[in-house]
């Protein structure tokens, strides 16, 4: 009897230990979306009746939670289900890559992923490099669910012609543009008024202002992390050499970094490094970057490169008396020259491993509907503005001023470095932008920085994805 019990116990132990490694259930994880709350719903508890699967099936949507918050995503998903009958299982998280990463490695992909490029984990870039994204050119000619307009008629001009949406330069669209935001230099307009300073229109005026501010114990410049230099550097390349230089540079054309235009860009960044608030590099990491943003709010630094989300992100932060947000495009290189503001936007895309690609395409088309645009613009923690025609007219407050930047003379800069197949130990951020930390600390010279860029650029050119 004892033996039988022992064997039973041992078997139970073995079985219970292995039970945890069981494969995924074949049951669909479908459930009706819940009211409010951004997180994915927990499947029905044991004993309860399983939720009725939606008539049109279920898609899984994974969206990054940024300064815009996640509540708006749930509302958009609900509106989509109401319109199409397709249920949506929503996952939102600030560290979305960590949440969906492991299941994707196991082959379980969300149907739609909304993320931005330029993030630390570079998940979107990884999928671009792997050519693991479904082409969505046909979505542009689809009719927006619930409306009679085509998607391409709604998206504002230029947004689906950049390297960010068409990464392989073949005229085919792979990523849908989402939530655009003009980027530029943010400052305390109240301080400028108080001191009687004017916002510089050229880089020469910028350096003059830097000297004036230094005399008052204020640094000219700071930056949250070096990741914010992408938008800055792109706009700078446009303002120095126009679209032609930008396209050549972002395609790593041979000898491009030896040109006069490139030299001007490098000189400006290097000079700006010498005007940067000295504690900036020590705080330019994912944990302390708000301390750098706080420098502007505390009148310790004048300008920082950022996007319109900064207002929501620092809403609770203490600030100097009379603080008022101001935003300007990058100064022109010469008097009367063009000044540019980079149009930063996020992307929604369908991974090749997605199981419900047709429904996913409908979802992406729906993201440009009037209903979705309205929800994104009004129900987020700060307004998320879809790149659709006529939306800027509906804005108010700070955002009206930010989004009017293009009406006030600044030109729009769009684009990105061209995608290349993965190179061991080499990526854009470490080559172009991370060394700015060392330029500010004085541990690297401008020449060393340029040398690094040239040698990396040669390798990237050789690995361009066509």
């Amino acid at each position: 009897m004892k033996k039988v019990i022992s064997i039973l116990l041992a078997t139970a132990l073995t079985a219970s230990m292995l039970a945890g490694c069981g494969g995924k259930s074949d049951e669909p994880a479908a459930q009706a979306p819940a009211e409010g709350g951004g997180q994915s719903e927990v499947p029905a508890e044991a004993g309860e009746e399983p939720a009725e699967p939606a008539a049109g099936g279920t898609i899984k949507v994974a969206a990054i939670e940024t300064a815009y918050g996640s509540a708006m995503w749930q509302e958009v998903c609900d509106a989509f289900t109401a319109e199409t009958g397709i249920a949506v299982e929503l996952i939102t998280d600030k560290n979305l890559e960590d949440v969906i990463g492991s299941s994707m490695k196991a082959g379980d992909f969300p149907d739609v992923i909304h993320l931005a490029t330029g993030r630390e984990d570079a998940l979107t870039e990884t999928f671009i490099k792997d050519q693991n994204i479904v082409e969505i050119t046909d979505v542009l000619s689809m009719t927006v669910p619930g409306e009679d307009k085509k998607v391409s008629d709604k998206i504002a001009g230029g947004f689906t012609e950049t390297a960010l949406t068409n990464p392989y330069g073949d005229g085919k669209t792979y990523l849908a543009p989402m939530f655009y935001s003009p980027c530029g230099l943010f400052y305390n307009a109240g301080l400028f008024e108080e001191k009687g300073w004017t916002v510089p229109a050229t880089w020469d005026e910028m350096w003059e202002l830097g000297d004036k501010a230094k005399a008052e114990g204020i640094s000219l410049f700071t930056y949250p992390t070096t990741g914010y230099f992408d938008a800055f550097f792109y706009a700078l390349m446009y303002s120095v050499g126009g679209a032609d230089f930008f396209n050549k540079a972002t395609n790593y054309e041979e000898g491009i970094w030896d040109t006069e235009e490139a030299k001007t860009c490098f000189d400006i960044v290097a000079k700006l490094a010498s005007y940067t608030e000295p504690t900036t590099p020590a705080q330019a990491n994912d944990q302390d970057f708000t301390k750098n943003q706080q420098l502007v709010l505390d009148n310790k630094a004048l300008f920082m490169p950022n996007g319109t989300w900064i207002v929501g992100e620092m809403a609770e932060a203490p600030r100097a008396e009379g603080f008022e947000w101001g935003m300007t495009a990058l100064p022109a290189v010469t008097a009367g020259g063009d000044s540019y503001s980079y149009t930063w936007f996020e992307q929604a895309w369908i991974p090749s491993g997605a199981a419900n690609q047709d429904a996913a395409k409908q979802f992406i088309a729906f993201l440009y509907s009037d209903i979705a645009c309205e929800i994104f613009a009004t129900k987020g923690d700060s307004p998320a503005i879809q790149p659709v025609l006529g939306i800027a007219d509906k804005l108010d407050g700070d955002n009206k001023m930010f989004y009017a930047i293009y009406d006030n003379g600044a030109k729009a800069a769009m684009g990105n470095f061209a995608a290349f197949s993965p190179i061991e130990g080499l990526d854009n951020r470490t080559v172009w932008f991370d060394p700015v930390n060392s330029l500010v600390s004085g541990t690297m010279t401008e020449e060393q920085w340029i040398e690094g860029i040239k040698s990396a650029s040669d390798q990237m050119r050789a690995n361009l994805l066509q």
């Binding site: 073995t14 792997d130 302390d288 061991e424 080499l426 600390s441």
Partner: protein
Amino acid sequence: MKKRRCGLHRRFFKRRSQSCAAIDRKGVMAMTKRSGRSRFIVLCLAAAVILFTVFMIIPTLNIFRMSLFVRSAYSTTEEFVWLQNFTRLMADSNFIRSMQNTILLIVVVTVVTFGLALIFAAILSREKIKGQNFFRIIFYIPNILSVVVISAIFSAIYDTNNGTLNSLLSFFKGDTVAILWKGESMVMVSLIIAMVWQAIGYYMVMYMASMASVPQSLYESASLDGAGRLTQFFQITLPLIWTNIRTTLTFFIISTINMAFLFVKAMTSGGPNGASEVALSYMYKQAYTNSTYGYGMAIGVMVFLFSFGLSALVNAVTKREPLEF
């Protein structure tokens, strides 16, 4: 067949006190018992063996295999490239810097943590100090905090303008001190301080436990012979807890390699400009954010071999005849 052999038994061993039939029964019972026992042992071990094979051996072998391929984390296509990933590693200055940082952390954090843990343990267990338990708890608390909490605490300590450390230094110096603790030149020192602070309590408690088992009589006779506190520590305490030190040293070296990754990820993201990158954080970046999974696995293999080798070396170097008391 069995019956015939029993017959022979009976004929030749008549003087046996037990009957053959009884032996048979016992033998069969013993055999059944033995096989039942082995079955039980096999069943008991099976769970551990299966789990160990599935979750340890196969993945480890898989890492070795994947290090010979060019592939990405989310894609199934792969290309066999022999040892190309390893030859690239040898020429990758960022990898070399990350290994240097790892070794620096292992050496300095281990030496400082073990030195201080031993001293504090000796003081708390051998000396009569008021509030011994209070100190024991205070030293142990960092160990139960998660790395994320620790990084938040140190973010406040290391803040250049309002941080505890700079404020304290300014107070003693009488002038404003603005050390950039997370700047390029000091970032490794900052990591070392945080890692020592986190680990010290755990090892101190471990040594206090083994010091408590050293017989008091040894110290008494040593002091009769005129041995001072220091001599007692080096001649009695250290040799008698040596086995414990040896084991914890191997543990600690391995855990430092792992903890360094967590601290870097939570405190500095490897910056500024890669100055605080360690082997595992660099491996993570290469494998997951640079789409070079095979290359990342090659770094994994190097770290695996390095920690294996280092543990073997430490084990060999610290080998002593175990002393008994």
